[in-house]
């Protein structure tokens, strides 16, 4: 019986020592890193599209940091989910709404205004989260393509439906080598 007690005491003492050591190390060698929210925000595509249900990427980053699902970002696609999963130490989940069908890289699109149809209502300007639409009231608006994040938010408010989301054109400079363009068969 006494042996048992000794053993328990010994282990208890060890536990206390190591605990203290670990605690000390945690304070002493604390790694200064970006706050989690910053890191998550960094990974998100910054389209500010609100498709996740939050008003912008940063709020969603905050929500993820507080335990929300990582699979609510359609513009980011699988790549973003994978990175978030790595960062948060959780399982990769399929994108919300695409559980059943096969996953595909989201096609990058940007907004184009059919300019002769635009009535100059400025609604899209107000909707644009990144101020990528220019124009004045009663004057034609246009999208600054380079700044457009392809968030879709301007499409709905348009009263005359003159905004199209068109895929970005591939140019030789932006062309990506495709495996499937070259017939490689894995044996």
């Amino acid at each position: 019986m006494s042996i048992l007690i000794y053993a328990l005491i010994a282990i208890g003492v060890l536990a206390v020592i190591f605990g203290a050591l670990l605690g000390y190390a945690q304070i002493r060698f604390k790694v200064e890193s970006d706050p989690l929210v910053e890191q998550i925000d960094e990974v998100l595509p910054q389209t500010q599209c609100g498709q996740c249900g939050y008003p912008g990427c940063r709020p969603y980053a905050e929500a993820i940091a507080n335990g929300d699902d990582i699979n609510k970002c359609p513009p980011g696609g699988d790549a973003t989910i994978k990175k978030l999963a790595d960062m948060m130490g959780v399982e990769v989940k399929p994108l919300v709404g695409s559980e059943d069908n096969t996953q595909q890289e989201p096609i990058k699109k940007v907004a184009y205004i059919r300019e002769d149809e635009c009535i100059g209502c400025t609604k899209c300007i107000q909707a644009c989260p990144v101020d990528a639409i220019v124009g004045a009231a009663k004057h034609m608006h246009t999208v600054i393509i380079d700044e457009c994040t392809g968030c879709d938010l301007c499409v709905e408010p348009c009263p005359v439906d003159c905004i199209d989301m068109l895929p970005i054109e591939t140019k030789p400079e932006t062309w990506r080598w495709q495996m499937n363009s070259i017939p490689v068969k894995n044996l």
Partner: protein, 735 residues
Amino acid sequence: MESLIEKIKSGYLWDFPGGVHPPERKELSNYQTISHLALPEKLYVTVKQHIGQAAHLLVKVGDKVKAGQALSQVQGPMELPVHAPSSGEVVEIKSHPIAHASGLETETIVIQTDGLDNWIDKQPVANYLELSKVEIVDKLKAAGIAGLGGAAFPTYVKHNNSQPVDVLIINGVECEPYITADDRLMQEYAAEIICGIEIFTHLLKPKMVVIAIENNKPAAIAAMEQACEGKTQFIVRAIPTKYPAGGEKQLIQVITGKEVPSGGIPSDIGVVTQNVGTAYAAYKAIVHGEPLIERVVTVTGEQVSQPGNYWIKLGTPVEFILAQTGYQAAKPEHLIMGGPMMGFNIPNKQVPVSKITNCILAPSNQELPLPEDEQNCIRCGYCVDACPANLLPQQLYWHTKAKEHDKAQEYKLADCIECGACAYVCPSEIPLVQYYRIAKAEIKAERIEHEKAEKAKERFNARNERLEKEKQARLDKHKQAAEARKAAMEKDQGAKDKVAEALARVQAKKQQAASGDNSKADNSKSDTKSAAQAAIERAKARKAAQEAEKAQATNAEQTASAEQAEAPPAAENDAKAKAKAAIERAKARKAAKAAEKAQTADTEQTASAEQSEAAIPAENDAKAKAKAAIERAKARKAAQAAEKAQATDTEQTASAEQAEAVPAAENDAKAKAKAAIERAKARKAAQAAEKLAQESTEQTETSSQPANEQSDKDARIKAAIAKAKAKRKQLGEDQ
């Protein structure tokens, strides 16, 4: 440095790691002198043929052009013009396949040749030594000279560098199998090449010039040595034959023993390299005043019966060249632009020759057989032994295949020169280079995307900040205005009136819920008549609007149910309801007009009352708002109908009866759904209405706007406000 130059002069050669010895097959094409081909009927001049940005077009369809005439003009950095290769007419400017692995189409100028080959007035410079450095560089730029070794890097950029140059290396290595264009050029135009090199030395002032030629080209070495005689600064150096000794970085390593820092350029270590073809083009451009419009192209492979080197005008379609050299298509057709190690397949024969085209290879299926199936990597490490950049191709392969881009970058994927030595030796026939290219392109895209995301974030934050500021500014303004008014009021009438007014407003609101009659009574109590009246009017308007709204709702509902159930009674109801709704709406409008009048009179109160509730109003144009409100109202109506239709969908059997029923009497789910919708709508409308109200306030305040402009649309605007308010009221009731 001096010791290094001494060492180079002594004949010492360094080596680069790795390398392979693919069959050279140069004997196919290197015994004939360079000849000319006939002029094609149409020339397809790609606007951008170099690394960088396309220059700006100078011609339009229908223009007559002469050979050597500039078709585009440089306006920015890294731009390079293209020139008409022969005289004729610009018949089309369109998208045409280009000499690029993607096979994509870009802007191309199509010239219908007239067969005369008339030149523009050339401006030859007999003694270029008289020209300043800037003038020569400008001439090189204007002549469209780009590196003709295969990358087409604008030559003038290399000469704009201010870093001191120790060694100028002239690349006549031509390590790619099959290609003999530079070999023949050196044999036949050695003196001209030397003259071109002297132009470069004039610009760069290097301590020495090394002309590097692989030792499998003895004739070229002899020719160049002869041309160099008496020039102490020039050294012709035969280097061991090993692929890819002609790669810029490898050649620098072989000649100087130094390595170009990763991400840097050769001039960082005091070295500049130029291809022999480029030197010849520079000679032509400066001494003869001829821009770069043709180049030597090796046409070879077992499928052409007359392999050899030809002067080919840039823009000549491959099809035309092959037709003249006795090409017989293999099955499947297989054409390579460039050599077998680094060249790319062209997907059709319309592709024109561009500044990068040094070879058109039409191999038979025996000489370059189809790639076989990719087998598993057995980590044999042959690729490690072959890699001239000291990379670990098999590790890169694992990571690029698994799309682990950060790990691939850790293994220095960016330093891969895509020479193909690894894939050449791979016993498992893995298309390693292809994997690397995909990964590189993806990494690049990712980087661009990330940059874009950063920018978007910045803009988003800036916008939020701006909105916040605007809101604050507005609030401040209102506060000030209110205070000013308060002061004015106190002067005018005193506090008593104001209290009374407030009281009247509160009571009016209360009464409104109970009955309109009471409000009258309340009214009489108030001291200020105008205020009271305004309150009454508003109450009425609200009520009317409410009714109108209800009618509308029923109307929509009925329409939906009628459609669903196809019941005639419902249709009748519908019609009736519509009529009723119309009447109600008309009434509402009337009332609203009255209300508006009152409101205008009652500006102060409305403003102060509504101020606190003001959301994030942003606009300065009231009319646009008004229109927006109308649009939204319409949309709402439509949406409501749709919503109802959906709701009815679930309860088809009961729909007819339910349609007529008052919302309160309806069963739970539907009522709730409707309530929710209405609430949402009401909120939205209210917000808009509030904005409007505020704006009208502001307008009245400033009152710089003529009233007649509004008169036309006012009624409708008012209706919208009234409706919105009614909804808010309703919302209160619902809750």
